[in-house]
């Protein structure tokens, strides 16, 4: 963490190490649930929370598809990768797409929040969202394809140095 920011937090009486960083590598619905639950809860416990979406995780924060300016393979990836929280598959037993629908029914029946509700709750609790620059450049994804809540597209070095001293999870 930059020295200046750490000092500012200490002056305010906040613990600069009381933070959670989540590297969201997975684009699955079940894992997204875990990512957002942990993030939102940590934030409501007063921790400084940020999520770094990389590779398959970019699906969670994608708002629109774009084919212009991409090469053939990138276009294929664009078509095959799910777009947004509601179109994610399950990490296991996806059953050709049947499973996510069943999971949603189950979650509704037991009173669990939807992924959208969880995302809103996390956002309102102060969770920050970042996208990985490497994955974005490999897949040819621009910032305008990502949801507005994404602060910035950053590199690994930025994210890791920001995570130092806190809890870091790889999901």
């Amino acid at each position: 963490m930059p020295q200046e920011k750490e000092r500012t937090l200490q002056i305010e009486g906040l613990d600069p190490h009381n933070k959670l960083r989540i590297i969201c590598f997975s684009g699955d619905m079940d894992k997204a649930f875990a990512v957002l639950t942990l993030a939102g809860t940590a934030a409501s416990l007063g921790m400084d929370v940020a999520i770094f979406f990389t590779f398959w995780g970019l699906s969670l924060i994608k708002k629109k598809r774009k084919f212009k300016g991409k090469n053939f393979i990138q276009k294929m990836m664009e078509m095959m990768m799910p777009k947004g929280l509601n179109s994610l598959g399950l990490s296991k037993m996806n059953m050709a797409g049947l499973a996510p629908a069943m999971m949603k029914v189950l979650m509704k029946k037991t009173g669990s929040p939807t992924l959208d509700e969880l995302f809103q709750a996390a956002k309102e609790s102060g969770v920050k969202f970042y996208a990985c620059s490497t994955s974005c450049s490999i897949l040819g994804i621009d910032k305008d394809q990502l949801i507005d809540e994404v602060q910035e597209i950053v590199g690994a070095a930025t994210f890791i140095s920001e995570a130092k001293g806190g809890i870091c999870l790889f999901i």
Binding site: T41, S44, G46, G111, E117, A121, E124
Partner: protein, 86 residues
């Protein structure tokens, strides 16, 4: 003979009530934070929850955030937490 509940409320006098019954983890804790944000220091929030995880989640929430858990009660699957904002 007044009901036990009425006595409880008269003594503990919550300033705000959050009915989290029907909500599942993590919503009770996340929303509780927002309810607490509406209160001033020293005021009391009463939370009702029926999520089994809430039993330990709220004491943990209090120890992490520094808000004081002044009383808690459990009955017929419903947990009640009286939390004083720090």
């Amino acid at each position: 003979m007044e009901s036990r509940e009425k006595i409880e409320r008269d003594v503990l006098k919550p300033d705000l009530e959050f009915d989290a019954r029907g909500m599942r983890c993590p919503m009770p804790v996340i929303k509780a934070r927002k309810y607490l944000d509406q209160l001033s220091s020293g005021q009391i929030l009463l939370i009702l929850a029926d999520d089994p995880g809430a039993k330990k989640d709220f004491p943990a929430f209090c120890s992490q955030t520094g808000h004081e858990l002044i009383a808690s009660q459990e009955g017929s699957g419903v947990f009640k937490f009286y939390i004083r904002k720090r």
